[in-house]
Symmetry: C2
Subunit: 439 residues, 2 copies
């Protein structure tokens, strides 16, 4: 931190993110419900002009306050520059429908609780903005709330990372990227940074030893400089730090050794994105459009939040429609096949699904994920259904259950960022739904 202004801004953001205030309180405070914070009912940004107490803007930080972000997450493009992940010029691929009315009543017991809850109740408990469930490729459930609609894109937060990891893994499978090579071999610019002697595999599995704290509650976390560099958040007055993502990456120092335990640090994804761009000569978004989005027959373009140089926000910048996330999840479930073609190599999906090194997964840090592991920036349950997931803060998820032939795509705007708050009413709900669909 360069100065007090910046430290103070980070404290402000940490407070907004809710980690300091809410995590520190035990029991957690009673939060306004999903219904009470419905962004349509609250009429954010309605009116010409919207009344001053109903505006949501980037520059004043209101876009990332709760409950305002229940509006922002479905309207990010209105707030900041973005790049397109084009679907091409064709029509959307078929997404067969077979809605079932029995799913709302499916019952599960939230983690740590004894009282059961229904799937319908979980929708609100998780501040869900929308969910699509596919079973054997058919839409068996689709529901939206608040500011989200079928044709709109929603912030996917760290689900983004799984897309970066997937494209990285594809390049490894194609032999264009050597997972055992050092980062500096592809990016001489990072030779003297903490990443120089990390391997591509270290990046893909987030097992680098670097000085980068993801602790949102600590204003001194490198995370904040990272966000300010990329203009993901409005910069504090007097900010003199790095002006874009590329300028930030070389400043990250080494701490400890590479190849140790999985340590979730967003910056690994940025560096992977840089490697992908260097090797392919195209941005990750262009890769995603050409390699996957156009072939999926996506219904909508997706888009990325970007810095002032158009560099995609690797940590959480991807926005997409829910149906397209479901199409993507279905492609994963089908070993890379969808829309009548093999879109990505089956071996890449299999490598993710079989999971990472369980002994390297710091179990204590993830009480809601017992037995899970991390591979190619995907979260792998290693449970009896072989489920694996892309996960983002505030409840974003793509959840693939191979045994149940089920895919869940969900967007949410849960008040607290950390998923341990919504996992208890999400993960057992997915499993209960899977078992119900298998009957």
């Amino acid at each position: 931190m360069k100065n007090r202004t910046m430290a103070s801004a980070a404290t402000f953001w940490a407070a907004l993110l809710g980690t300091t205030s809410v995590l520190a309180q035990n029991p957690a405070p009673v939060l306004p419900t999903a219904a009470q914070t419905d962004p349509v009912a609250l009429a954010w940004m309605v009116g010409s002009p919207p009344p001053p107490n109903k505006t949501v803007q980037f520059h004043d930080g209101s876009f990332y306050k709760f409950p305002q972000f229940r509006w922002s997450f479905s309207n990010y493009r209105q707030l900041a520059p973005t790049t397109n992940v084009g679907r091409g010029t064709g029509g959307a691929s078929a997404l067969p429908r077979g809605e079932r009315t029995d799913l709302d009543a499916v019952t599960f017991t939230p983690l740590g609780k004894t009282e059961p809850m229904t799937w319908a109740q979980a929708f609100d408990a998780n501040y869900t903005d929308g969910v699509v469930v596919l079973h054997k490729g058919k839409v068996v459930y689709e529901r939206y709330a608040g500011a989200l609609q079928p044709e709109k894109q929603h912030m996917s937060m760290s689900v983004t990372k799984s897309f970066f990891g997937l494209i990285g893994a594809i390049l490894v499978a194609e032999g264009r990227l050597d997972e055992n090579a050092k980062v500096a071999q592809y990016l001489p610019e990072l030779k003297d940074s903490g990443f120089g002697d990390a391997t591509i595999r270290n990046l893909l599995d987030m097992r680098t030893g670097i000085q980068y704290s993801e602790a949102y509650g600590d204003p001194k976390s490198e995370f904040w400089t990272h966000m300010f560099a990329g203009r993901v958040l409005p910069r504090p007055a007097g900010y003199h730090g790095p002006d874009n993502f590329y300028a930030f990456m070389p400043t990250v120092q080494k701490l400890g050794e590479h190849g140790g335990n999985f340590a979730y640090k967003t910056i690994n994804t940025d560096v992977l994105g840089w490697v992908i761009s260097r090797v392919t000569g195209k941005s990750v978004g262009q890769n995603l459009s050409e390699r996957i989005w156009q072939k999926l027959g996506a219904e909508q373009d997706a888009y990325f939040a970007v810095d002032s140089l158009g560099t995609e926000f690797a940590g959480g910048g991807l926005n997409a429609s829910l149906r397209d996330m479901a199409r993507f999840g279905e492609m994963m479930r089908n070993q890379g096949r969808f829309n009548g073609q093999q879109i990505i190599p089956a071996q890449v999906v299999q490598d993710i699904a079989k999971g990472g090194d369980k002994s390297a997964f710091p179990q204590a840090a993830y009480p809601s994920l017992p037995g899970w592991s991390y591979r190619n920036m995907w979260w792998v349950s290693n449970n009896e259904h072989g489920a694996y997931s892309a996960r983002g803060i505030h409840g974003q998820a793509i959840y693939i259950d191979p045994k149940a032939e089920m895919v869940v795509a969900r967007f949410a705007s849960f008040p607290m960022p950390n998923n341990p708050f919504n996992d208890p009413t999400s993960l057992p709900a997915y499993m209960a739904l899977a078992k119900h669909l298998m009957k």
Copy 2:
């Protein structure tokens, strides 16, 4: 102007826009050619990261320098916040193809010249980024250059105004807007501004008497405050003016009388947009999506540049794909019918096509538009083909020739903003093409 910093910034922009420097010079300086300024060849924003001398950014103003804007005009979304004009979830409507190879050789004589020029030569002379020509509803010509591609949107500049005027005229036809009513009747907020006692018809035909100079070369023009308010251009340091479009509009004062000569002043379109939003409860972009874009079967979403409140930049914020502009033009040519349905009322199109009051058109100010008039924010040639056009700076155009059953949609990045620079190699080219197609 509040202070010297701001006046200096406006001078900077005026110089960039080229009006002071280039218009003042006679003969005009020799400009680098389209080939010499091809944005792909110049490799703007290529590389990870792009080299410092190849970056195009919003904050430093480089996005609106020539030749950088040959890249920016096809990538505006990467530079600033935008709102979507959704095409819905369906596929695109058919756009039958019947390319003709004889059109490139069509010859015309540029205005004020004696040497003939071919259609193909005019493509480069106009720094064309793309052009689509429809004849009897078929694509007879489609060509792209530089940074534009079929699936990409391009800035349409003041073509935007014709969309606002069209929607305004539709609301008049529907009886939801009284063209003889005063602006203050719909917008009490503007009662004490210059617009208060102007009629809706005055707005639609830009015949208001207001103190607002469009002279780009004059740093004291109200135009600059308008642009800074909406963050269309980066604000000068120390800017303390209006923070958004809504805050600027009430500051515009009366000058002279309403109902006089046509006087092209961008702010009329903003006020019309406010009226449309107030009357419909939806933004102009939402109106455009629901009333036109979805029904057209557009191939791509369109989008608007917006201010910090998400208010669309009425003066020039619409970005769309060229094929969709052609679809839209074809709907106009067919009296509002396209894609198997009557999308807008035929009488609205007829009202535009028959033109405005010719005696109110200040001929001296538009030497390249002899006999033209202005109606509902459309430019009407009143020529023997009954052609009318939506026009935007730097060469943007939708040109509809009813007699020849021809529609031209063109995007360009001509170095100078004012269309009198490119009209001489555009308007006679359209007429020559029309006559050729009628043979």
